[in-house]
Symmetry: C2
């Protein structure tokens, strides 16, 4: 098992991204509190730069590279928010980013990423690790892994750190889980700043590998990418650094199906007027649908992003 990092790494990361990442608002709702019987504090990372928390970790990770690494450039594989987060972070730090995307990634995502000045390399989805490795060998690029990277983890944790500082003591913190970067950082933030707060990871029921991995203390890998509307959480396995942090610092894991995700998403759009993506609705779904009944009055929820396809989702409204 990998060596742990000190939870204080999140505080350092917060200092490094201050004034560059958005300090996103914490929102509350009388209606939501009445419906759930709790006091809920929504950390709105849909208002983060590039529309998702991913910018925090990406900026932090690139900022920590050596001068030689920065000069050589960075690479990652992603068709989602990490791609845009890394592209913008690299642009701001004067570093060339190359993003490996599957051939069938939507044109709009390629264009958005290229708009931040990144090079886009497309390949068949199953070849992406190989293509990344070749680019690293040929050009000396540094891989910025989407979640299995300590600087990424510490950067993502700053979202929860800001929430604890602004909302005060919390009894529960709900965080969506894909590869485990966000929850690892948030759990470290809770260990640092959230005395007594229980950290709960939430993943789509269609791909509950993270819960299995957390319970069994070893990584479970799905045979295929899970089929869920929460497109930001379609990962087959968490990383080894994520397993190490989650085993020590996460208190519970739960899962929600797409019906619950959609019901929660509709409420967030229609009643709370927040455009969030399905992966963000995942974190609120256990409380909103009432299936999570463990005690805890003051509850934080990380609304991880807002990069939703409005036209496609509205078909379900």
């Amino acid at each position: 098992m990998v060596k742990q990092i000190d939870p204080a790494a999140v505080t350092l990361a917060a200092q490094r991204i201050q004034g560059i990442a958005n300090h996103t608002p914490v929102m509350t709702s009388r209606t939501l509190n009445q419906l759930t019987g709790r006091e809920i504090y929504l950390k709105c990372e849909n208002f983060q730069r590039v529309g998702a928390f991913k910018f925090r970790g990406a900026y932090h990770a690139v900022s920590q590279l050596s001068a030689a690494q920065k000069a050589a450039g960075v690479v990652t594989h992603s068709s989602g928010n990490h791609a845009q987060g890394l592209a913008l972070a690299a642009q701001l730090l004067g570093v060339q980013a190359t993003i490996v995307m599957p051939e069938d990634a939507p044109a709009i995502k390629k264009a958005a990423t290229a708009g931040y000045g990144a090079h886009i390399v497309t390949c068949p989805a199953f070849d992406r690790d190989k293509v990344c490795a070749e680019l690293m060998a040929t050009y000396g690029y540094t891989l910025i892994h989407p979640f299995d990277n300590w600087d990424i983890i510490a950067g993502q944790g700053t979202a929860a750190l800001e929430l604890f500082i602004e909302a005060g003591d919390l009894d529960l913190l709900f965080v969506p889980v894909g590869g485990g970067g966000l929850i690892s950082g948030c759990a470290l933030a809770a260990a640092q700043q959230g005395a007594g707060c229980r950290v709960v990871g939430v993943e789509p029921a269609a791909g509950d590998d993270a819960g299995c991995s957390w319970r069994e203390k070893r990584i479970t890998t799905l045979d295929a990418v899970p089929n869920t509307m929460a497109d930001g959480l379609r990962t087959r396995a968490i990383g080894e650094r994520n397993l190490a942090v989650m085993t020590q610092y996460v208190h519970d894991m739960t899962a929600v199906n797409d019906t619950a995700i959609l019901e929660t998403l509709k409420f967030l759009w229609q009643r709370l007027k927040l455009v969030v993506e399905p992966s963000a609705a995942v974190a609120l779904a256990p409380l909103f649908t009432g299936h999570y009944t463990a005690p805890g009055q003051r509850v934080g929820v990380i609304l991880s992003g807002g990069n939703a396809d409005v036209a496609a989702l509205a078909a379900y409204f």
Copy 2:
């Protein structure tokens, strides 16, 4: 012409609704500032109770009634946000509200209003004034007019007052105009708190009666309800109190067509992650589409509400 009120009425109204109306957030966006070349401060009344600024004026107006008036009850005609605002305000103050709605009002709006404990009376749209008058004569109800009422005007102005206090001096303030309640209050707030700020009213081009009325200093009435996607601004004329305030305190009026409204709405949803209704997009449209070119670096915009029909609007995305 009616007698004016002192702009300080807005400050008094703010004290009376404090802790009951939401102090809504002011949001900014690097992307929006880059696109427009200005510093824009968005006052997000889509996060107000009932999803629109209308709660401010409604609560203020009902709170100012005498004990006898409160005991007798209130009435208004509206199928939109004023109906829900008045219903909730009355419920909170223990007053019975009766809302006259057109027969063809959407069932969902009737249900939402009834959900706050109001009585719903339906009638043909052209009979609504007569039906209101009959209810007042029979039951002694007090009419809470949606915009031609000093307490409504002062209450709506608290949105701009909060914005001036939070954002500091502004060069321009853009406000959507239907019946003129919001802009009247906001213009009074600017006179009170926004030294040097020019107040600009924006209405749908399909119904630019308010601009005509403001220029000619007398009320212009449209022959028919204007055909625009900005459903909150489908009024045939402003009120006489609104004309009096606008003539004295509003500095400019402009209009935007539905293409501009839709383009702005899409940006607010997709890029800024804010669910706003078309009437709110109206206020930002002159800057977003670049058709308003008068100078002014620091600019406030009142995003008036968020009660949008997601499914219907998303068909245009």
